[in-house]
């Protein structure tokens, strides 16, 4: 027998070392299973740690500080124009990544999770072939597919290293701050990167095909952000399609549909969504099925159509969010360990880390209207919040979408600084099946932004202190 033909036996094989993959691996190991994690990259962490959440939030934190420093001028405190040392900024970003990656490696080691670098391809429903790896073949009892997603490209282009046309991964390198940056796509990635680059000095133009930025977020939550972005960005073009994009010596030439002449930008960022990473995995050798959008089909127990193979995270679609992947990863591990787990989350929070931040969960007002569902919407403007006024963040809004009869919380949306930290209370409320009264009767510390949640709930009951009771015929409430 050739050595290369030897197949290692593993109990649980996790493919992909991103958020979903390591969450699954760690949970499975904690449940006493023998776990091997195969990751194409050297270190665990995936897109979230290396090319997504973590580096982008490091840079966004810096951007927020730049802005905050400017904001306190209204209080008579002047820092002057920021002097940015980009080398140091990049170093800090890498230090953050390194610290967290090291943490993950240590956690894996202490749990006895075996980390193997390589690319796995299914040969059958219980065996994978590994390339670029020290191992060749592994037979598994259960596999968890967590291969994530990849950025979509502009039609007919490919992302190349050093190109002026970047995807989000390249943009996080901030190798240089361009004088002008074109961002194609007005979703959360486009807006977050626009915020980073504009705060660091670039003139940012955003082009969006649809008639609004951040489709899926209620318009009233977008208003304060749009107002902010109007000042931060050079231009925002809605209903605009880029018909042609090419790289020249001088920069990137982009032609907007309907325009005759192209416009030139130093760099361009393509942020037009992501697609599941399902190619070259040998899925055709298994019973795993993909849906019409190419995502792996799973049930609420994260099982694919192939009973030995589970899938979690971006590769199964839905919201491509690390925290959704974590949760799914844990479910898959628990199901494999024989526990009656299921992914039955009632609300998945979403956060856009612009400044102001937007965070929401559950039903949106737009979605309720679209499906003709009768809801009661209550809003608490931050101009009535003591804490927000102290901070000069009076543009913020906290709103709740409620069942008009029972007061059950169906959705919550927040725009304003720290919205991302605040949304968790709403998610917990929804998971617990809370009604507005539950939140209104919960004592919130004063003065904090979290009070706005209690007050919004109080507005439904007519018990809010800081705003007047809503009238029955309030035009804002969807009837």
């Amino acid at each position: 027998m050739v050595v290369g033909e030897l197949s290692e036996e593993v109990e649980v094989l996790v493919i992909g070392g991103g958020a979903g993959g390591y969450a699954a691996a760690f949970r499975a190991a904690d449940l006493g299973l023998d776990v091997t994690l195969v990751n194409a990259e050297e270190r665990p962490g995936g897109v979230c740690l290396f090319r997504g959440c973590i580096p982008s939030k490091t840079l966004l934190y810096a951007a927020e500080m730049v802005k905050a420093a400017g904001e306190v001028e209204r209080m008579g405190i002047r820092f002057g124009k920021p002097d940015i040392d980009f080398n140091r900024l990049r170093e800090v970003r890498d230090e953050v990544i390194n610290k967290l990656a090291t943490g993950l490696e240590q956690l894996a080691k202490k749990r006895g999770v075996r980390l193997v670098q390589g690319r796995a391809q299914f040969e059958s429903s219980n065996e994978v072939f590994l390339s670029e790896s020290e191992s060749r073949r592994m037979r598994f009892r259960h596999a968890i597919l967590a291969t994530g997603s990849l950025p979509n490209n502009f039609p007919g282009m490919s992302f190349e290293k050093g190109s002026r046309i970047m995807d989000s991964s390249a943009a996080l390198k901030i190798e240089k701050i361009p004088d002008s940056l074109l961002i194609i796509g007005g979703g959360y990635i486009g807006l977050e990167f626009g915020t980073i680059y504009a705060s660091l000095g670039a003139r940012v133009t955003v082009v969006e095909m649809m008639d609004r930025l951040m489709a899926g977020v209620d318009r009233d939550l977008m208003d304060p952000l749009i107002k902010e972005l109007d000042g931060l960005f050079e231009e925002v073009h809605l209903n605009t399609k880029v018909s042609d994009l090419k790289e020249t010596d001088k920069g990137v030439e982009a032609t907007f549909e309907g325009d005759d002449a192209p416009q030139t930008f130093d760099q361009a960022l393509i942020a037009v969504g992501r697609h599941p990473n399902t190619e070259n995995l040998g899925l055709e050798n298994t019973k795993v099925e993909l849906n019409e959008k190419g995502y792996v089909t799973v049930n609420e127990r994260q099982q694919t159509n192939d009973k030995n193979i589970f899938a979690v995270g971006d590769v199964v679609g839905g919201k491509l969010l690390a925290h959704k992947a974590f949760h799914e990863g844990r479910v898959a591990a628990e199901v494999i360990a024989g526990k009656p787990s299921a992914f039955d989350a009632r609300a998945i929070p979403k956060v856009v880390f612009t400044d102001p931040q937007i965070a929401w969960c559950g039903l949106t007002q737009d979605a309720a209207e679209a499906e003709g569902r009768k809801v009661k919407v209550v809003r608490f403007p931050w101009s009535a919040s003591g804490r927000a006024v102290c901070m000069g963040q009076t543009e913020g809004v906290t709103k709740m979408i409620l069942d008009p009869d029972t007061g059950r919380i169906l959705g919550v949306g927040i725009v304003g600084r720290n919205a991302g930290e605040m949304i968790s209370e709403a998610v917990l409320a929804m998971e617990m099946g809370a009604v507005a009264e539950d939140v209104a009767l919960t004592i919130h510390p004063h003065p904090t932004l979290s009070e706005t949640l209690g007050e919004a709930a109080g507005a439904f009951l007519g018990t809010a202190v800081d705003i007047l009771p809503q009238r029955e015929n309030d035009p804002d409430s969807a009837e």
Partner: protein, 439 residues
């Protein structure tokens, strides 16, 4: 227009079915009446036809799922003619008035069929009428999954119709409480805590789904074991002559497409014995304090299948000849093994015969197929030395001896009855010529 298709009531008081196979996928076009699901109720499989002509928009179940009557299993986009008035199974000509009662807009009554509407629901019912999930904390939902409880069935005691963990446990234990949580007596705590301390086996283990035939068998065995005071009576029959006769006729029966086995003879012998001792073909009605004698001789025959033990029923054994049985039983067993059995094939038995002889065994104590009164078990027939004559003059002959065991319900019959009953069976099979002659 999108249409939610709920699992139709298969009738006969069945609340729950297991999905064996989903025959369509999202995006498929289906014709009204085309089979879309293969389901198993108790132990029989059947198919569910599409209620409309249209496109499958969503499939909410998959094979292996246990689904309750009224649960949404698929969503269709209608393209064809209007929706059929009646739930699917109605085709099979169920009770007419049921069809009347169960029109299409069942959304209004999410409660399960077969369960009386719960007047106490009040506020909860209101919450349930709306869309969306039953309000319950994640930990409560976990407990519900663990106990196999559908939150929709639980009477909530929390504010605003919220289902609490206690409600789920109470439902699982079969007591739907109208009690308020604060009135909960102290001693309630003990079982709750015990239930939380879940059995966690050590070492290398694997959990297997406890479903379908396995689960149904288990439930029935528990019921039988708990309710019926079992006694086993053993005897033996000399089947040497019967075997000779069987060998003689085997080939001609085979030529006719049947299979002549010991079981057919035993079935006939049992039917005759049941006529003679009617209390073995009966059922005990404890509530009415009456013994119900049955004048149909429908005898179940235990069959070992890939899915587990199944008991197809041979109807009116008394009216059939051994040749008839030799034709019918193998086909019936085959249908059962292939999962093609209808519910009728598996229900209505009045007595059961189980033959483990082909597998081996010198004797065993069969468990009664509730609510029947007795079950006859056959072990392996063996060639044995039999002493004929008396102490002064005897002869030892090799004879084929069949061990029999009758499990009976001592509430209905006594040991002496059982001895007489088994003797009647033994004597009949020891004299096969006569047995063949009868009918």
């Amino acid at each position: 227009m999108a249409m939610e298709f709920k699992l139709p009531d298969p009738g006969e008081g069945i609340h729950e079915v297991e999905i064996i196979k989903v025959l369509v996928s999202p995006g498929d076009y289906v014709e009204d009446g085309q089979s879309i699901l293969e389901i198993e109720t108790d132990k029989a499989t059947s198919e569910v036809p599409a209620p409309v002509t249209g496109k499958v928009k969503e499939v909410r179940v998959e094979s292996g799922d246990t689904v309750r009557v009224g649960d949404v299993v698929m969503v269709f986009e209608e393209t064809g003619e209007k929706k059929r008035e009646e739930p699917a199974k109605k085709e099979k000509a169920k009770k007419e008035e049921e069809a009347e009662e169960r029109p299409e807009k069942r959304e209004e009554k999410p409660q399960k069929a077969g369960k009386p509407p719960d007047v106490q629901r009040g506020e909860a019912g209101k919450g349930r009428k709306g869309k969306g999930p039953v309000p319950a904390a994640p930990s409560t939902r976990r407990v519900a999954r663990e106990l196999g409880v559908d939150l929709k069935d639980v009477t909530p005691s929390g504010p605003g119709g919220r289902v609490l963990t206690e409600d789920v446990r109470a439902h699982a234990e079969g007591k739907e409480p109208a009690r308020k949580p604060e009135e909960e007596p102290k001693e309630e705590k003990a079982p709750t805590e015990a239930a939380e301390k879940k059995f966690e086996p050590e070492g290398r283990t694997e959990r297997m789904a406890w479903r379908s035939v396995r689960r149904t068998t288990a439930k029935r065995m528990i019921q039988s074991w708990n309710e019926i005071p079992h006694v086993t009576h053993q005897d033996a029959a000399d089947i040497t002559d019967l075997e000779t006769l069987r060998q003689k006729h085997k080939e001609e029966i085979k030529a006719q497409g049947g299979s002549l086995t010991l079981t057919m003879f035993v079935l006939k012998a049992v039917a005759a014995a049941l006529r003679k001792y009617p209390r073995f073909n009966a059922e005990l009605d404890m509530d009415a304090e009456e013994i119900i004698l049955k004048y149909d001789y429908h005898i179940g025959v235990a069959v070992d299948t890939d899915r587990g033990l199944l008991v197809p029923v041979v109807r009116d054994v008394d009216c059939k000849s051994i040749v008839d049985l030799a034709m019918e039983l193998p086909q019936l067993a085959e249908r059962v093994r292939n999962g093609d059995a209808e519910r009728e094939d598996l229900t209505g038995g009045t007595f059961t015969v189980t033959n483990v002889g082909p597998m081996g065994g010198t004797g065993f104590a069969p468990i009664i197929n509730h609510p029947q009164v007795a079950i006859l078990g056959l072990a392996r027939a063996k060639l044995q030395p039999v002493v004929v004559g008396d102490l002064n003059e005897y002869e030892i002959r090799p004879r084929l001896i069949l061990p029999l065991a009758l499990g009976f319900d001592h509430r209905v019959v006594d040991g002496a009855d059982a001895a007489r009953f088994v003797r009647a069976v033994v004597e009949a099979i020891e004299d096969p010529e006569t047995l063949m002659m009868k009918v």
